[in-house]
């Protein structure tokens, strides 16, 4: 804390100009340093967030300033089967995709935690799906899911002879829903795996040695050492993953645009369709705002749910 008195002494010794003195005056410097970041965030994040909540209570359309209409937008949404459909699919999509991403990602992290040749190259390759623009890889999936020329259909029908007809990936609701979830899992695995790998590398090997001396099987070592030690990092990664899966937009917009017959709309794509494409800004904003309670609930659930279990098990282990 004695540090804070030092700059004034340094400044008086050299007698610099008033500008230099101003920039060395700590409160001024703090304000100047924080101004760009805080300014950008206030103007383009906090203000729009508030504006979005306000818009949800108005009947604004593109080109026309709306008036306050209370809860009318939300009452309309509650009676709208498409909104309920989007809520259902958003939750389903998030739940299944998160489960898949974490099960497979954790497995991949455990595999990558072994020693084998070309390890760093393989780790670099694994992250590739996450680097490439989602829309562009989504286009590749669209092509893979093509009704006529799907390579998966070709494998199943012409090479393996498991089926007689091509798979109709995107033509009917349930196959389309699962096809999108598969693409989302494919894109999410690398992030989960690399983050969890970082967590795995922090676990002390002596814990495993002790467990092996006690005769623990590899499943027991995973269940009672790896899993509890990974809980804090799992909680963080899962919170992020749930938030960004629930609000996903690109994948669905690129592959199905909500079709067939609106069965794959997520809340974000529905909000875009009504708000920007349809011009009903108020209603679109209401759909976007309706995501917030789900997000808060999911965040609290994943974060505190996992963090509490970590605390209990941590105490039992110590």
């Amino acid at each position: 804390m004695s540090v804070t008195t030092l700059p004034s002494r340094g400044a008086t010794l050299r007698q610099p100009g008033w500008l230099a003195r101003l920039f060395d005056y700590k409160p001024f410097l703090i304000v100047m340093c924080l101004a760009p970041a805080i300014g950008l965030l206030l103007v383009f994040l906090t203000y729009p967030l508030g504006l979005g909540i306000w818009l949800a209570f108005t009947d604004t359309t593109i080109g026309q300033r709306g008036i306050y209409i209370g809860l009318e937008n939300f009452q309309y949404l509650l009676k709208d089967p498409l909104w309920w459909n989007a809520v259902f699919y958003s939750i389903f999509y998030t739940a299944v995709a998160t489960f898949g991403k974490f099960a497979l990602g954790f497995w991949l992290a455990l595999l990558l935690n072994n020693h084998f040749p070309l390890k760093s190259l393989i780790r670099a390759i694994v992250l590739l799906p996450w680097i490439v623009p989602t829309v562009l890889s989504a286009l590749a999936f669209w092509w893979i899911y093509d009704p006529q020329f799907s390579i998966i259909s070709y494998l199943l029908v012409d090479v393996l002879h498991l089926r007689d007809s091509n798979v109709d990936f995107l033509g009917s609701p349930w196959p389309a829903r699962f096809s999108l979830i598969a693409a989302n899992i494919w894109r999410g695995i690398p992030f989960v795996a690399i983050s969890l790998l970082a967590g795995l590398q922090t676990i002390s090997p002596s814990l495993y040695e002790a467990a092996m001396l006690d005769g623990a099987t590899s499943w027991q070592r995973f269940r009672y050492i790896t899993f509890p030690m990974m809980m804090p990092i799992l909680a963080i990664v899962m919170t992020f993953s749930i938030i960004f899966t629930f609000t996903d937009f690109q994948l669905v917009y690129a592959i199905t645009r909500g079709g067939p017959v609106n069965s794959t709309h997520l809340l974000a794509t529905l909000a875009f369709q009504r708000g920007i494409a349809g011009g009903e800004l108020g209603e679109g904003a209401a759909i976007a705002v309706s995501m917030i309670p789900f997000l808060v609930f999911a965040t609290l659930f994943s974060y505190f749910g996992l963090a509490r279990r970590k605390w209990q098990q941590g105490e039992a282990n110590d």
Binding site: L6, P7, G10, A20, F23, D24, K26, P27, L29, M32, C33, L34, A37, I38, L40, F44, Y47, P48, L49, L51, G52, L55, T60, L108, L111, N114, H115, I122, A124, I125, V126, L127, I131, V132, P133, V135, L136, S137, L139, A140, F141, W143, F149, I189, P190, S195, Y208, M212, S218, R221, I233, F249, Q250, Y253, A268, I276, A285, V289, I292, T299
Partner: protein
């Protein structure tokens, strides 16, 4: 097998190599699943690449041509993309937006991280937390009100709108990353400089920043990749075909009619992915360390 096990015993911390597992078991438990993972994770890229160079006759005829290979590769799709569409222009816009927003957010977040971590003041942890919380607000909630804000500012349909908006998700991440980096630089260095009469800005410019270069590179490549990949804002704020970014333009300008030009679409996706993939391969170590470092923070 014994030397392999002995060698990994010394270096490795993992349970499986410490067990007396046979080579066969290792193949089944590790190499086989790993190969499946890599195959599945890379297949869409292989498929993208091979489609880009296939002539249409082979592309739509699986009976006579093996779809996994090309017999007569062609550059027709790439040529069509580069000379018959505005693809070069989209690439240029995307590059401009990505570089612009990366520099803007690096500038803003370096100063913010320095203020929070080094010019400690009352409430600085709360400012840090506030900036971090901004990262948890997803763009899907913001794009509708932001569109009206952009129109109010007269920035609709301009790449400048994207340069100004992208920092909302870049600054929180970069600030967070750089706070971590600044923490690792010994404070004594700054104290010495203060005693020698350097001003705070001189310290930031001459001492802290040169030492934080790895952190700046990590934050920079992360920002570049994220802005290159951004989709929803670019879709909502840009109207005219010429100003679109690559991901939006491919989806809205190249997907036309009922017969999709799969060759051109995949060539566009491949070319649009190449810059980030190249960038990534150059800085892969920074990338992995920043990703994992940010998670561990």
């Amino acid at each position: 097998m014994t030397d392999l096990a002995a060698q990994s015993n010394v270096t490795s911390a993992t349970p499986d190599t410490m067990a007396w597992d046979s080579r066969a078991r290792r193949v089944v438990m590790i190499y086989l699943p790993l190969a499946c993972f890599i195959l599945i994770l890379l297949f869409p890229f292989y498929w993208m690449a091979i489609t880009s160079f296939k002539p249409n006759a082979e592309l739509l005829n699986y009976k006579e041509h093996n779809p996994f290979w090309i017999t007569s590769p062609t550059l027709a799709h790439v040529k069509h993309l580069l000379f018959d569409t505005s693809y070069p222009r989209w690439l240029k816009t995307t590059m401009l937006v990505a570089i612009g927003s990366t520099f803007l957010s690096l500038f803003a977040s370096t100063l913010a991280a320095y203020a929070i971590e080094r010019l400690r003041f009352r409430g600085s942890p709360y400012v840090g937390l506030g900036i971090y919380l901004a990262y948890l607000v997803p763009p899907s909630i913001l794009f509708i009100p932001l569109a009206t804000v952009i129109v109010q500012f007269g920035l609709f349909d301009s790449p400048l709108a994207l340069i100004l908006v992208y920092p909302t998700f870049l600054v929180p991440f970069c600030t967070w990353l750089l706070i971590g980096y600044f923490k690792s630089i010994p404070y004594e260095l700054e104290e010495c400089a203060l005693v020698d009469g350097a001003t705070r800005l001189q310290i930031l410019w001459r001492i802290t920043l040169p030492l934080a270069v790895p952190g700046l590179i990590s934050a920079g490549i992360f920002s570049f990749t994220l802005s290159w990949n951004e989709f929803i804002y670019a879709l909502a704020f840009i109207q005219s075909g010429a100003n679109k970014t690559v991901p939006v333009a491919i989806l809205t300008e190249l997907v036309t009619g009922d017969v999709y030009q799969w060759g051109a679409l995949m060539a566009g996706s491949l070319l649009g992915s190449l810059p980030v993939a190249l960038f990534y391969s150059l800085f892969v170590d920074y990338y992995v360390s920043s990703l994992t470092g940010a998670v561990k923070e």
